[in-house]
Symmetry: C2
Subunit: 221 residues, 2 copies
Amino acid sequence: MSISPKLKLYEAFAAIGRALGNAHRLDILEHLAQGERGVEALAAKLGLTTANTSQHLQHLKQAGLVESRRQGKFILYRLSDDSVQRLLAALFEVGERNLAEVDKVLRDYFQARDAMEPVSPDELIARSRQGLVTVLDVRPRDEFEAEHLPGAVNIPLSELEERLSELNPEKEVVAYCRGPYCVLSFEAVARLRDHGLRARRLSDGLPEWRLGGLPVESGAE
Amino acid sequence: MSISPKLKLYEAFAAIGRALGNAHRLDILEHLAQGERGVEALAAKLGLTTANTSQHLQHLKQAGLVESRRQGKFILYRLSDDSVQRLLAALFEVGERNLAEVDKVLRDYFQARDAMEPVSPDELIARSRQGLVTVLDVRPRDEFEAEHLPGAVNIPLSELEERLSELNPEKEVVAYCRGPYCVLSFEAVARLRDHGLRARRLSDGLPEWRLGGLPVESGAE
DNA sequence: ATTACATTCCAATAATCGCTTGAATGATAT
DNA sequence: ATATCATTCAAGCGATTATTGGAATGTAAT
């Protein structure tokens, strides 16, 4: 007598759950949400060994969360589907709502999250059309070149101070990066304000923007 | 130097993932999606020991997926939030889309899923208003009494054959149970058709109906 | 072919998980 | 108080997981 089909299904779904059950793998998924990446490139960004990164990717692949294709010497990984991003969003929502620990980190580190008054995509589009804002992408150059918001300027966080002059002080800066928990844009807004500029964060990152059906550009500036 | 705040957050989110990473726990969540339950009652439905069920519940509680309250001698557990149900739905969607194994089970066991032509909630409401259908709840009596669709008739699957006469053969039967992977309604529809009745499944179960903001009733018939 | 290089596989470690059994807790009922 | 009952805790087992370093695979360039 075989196991109930419902449990068989749940076993498969649980495998997806286990795949989500590791912080590094969530990190990988955040990076892949921005576009295809090779194993070594990912490993470098994450600070993991390639062997380890490869293992995590295999794990994610078996769970149906990512797919891969070969291009020349490299094997590029990407999210299987938009449904994966929605799953991540649902996971984050549950965490934000029900885990005191999450709330604490958000409050302590991403301090004054509310005071940052994040800009919604709709608002950004409206103000951008009126020429009131500078859209600032603070991710590393390679990520910017792969894909970015239309009309965005790229100043990686590490170069922010040296390149302040490139920003028009008349306009408000709206900074974004990889996603809702990417620290780059928080940090950027704080530093820009220290230098007397008006700056706010976009409420989400590039992947959420794309998921919302909004346009993106790719290539250098 | 402390661990990055993003990883701290992801560690918390990963804990939720791990909580989803066990078939029995998903089963528990399906049952709790229908309403509050005590530990022993759950254990009986799931076929687990109480100690084991309790452990799983602790695990789910720590992950913020369920909450509990004491009522007299019993401790009742419930889902923390609607967001938990949305998370489950997102998990199922990813599985259905990207896991060949899930597809296989759905095809093999829940055979001819399409041929069953599930009825959507909207359609059910319309046809029900016209008096064209019998809404049939095939879950065990206790679950029916806790909560059911308005106007539904309760015939647990185990009693289906004996109580066929209670069903008006002029009307089409629309059966439902706990959720999209609950086997009861599939089985019920198959058997009803064997007996010459027109029968279809509701596309989802009671929890999804409630999540959609549609009304439910409770108490005996 | 041979070399170079990206990626995956393999083996070994320590840590964690799922489940069982039996005792401990905590609230209610007598 | 004492007894009862639902639930949780604690200890222990076999199985699984994350990680690492080194070997093996497979593709591309010479």
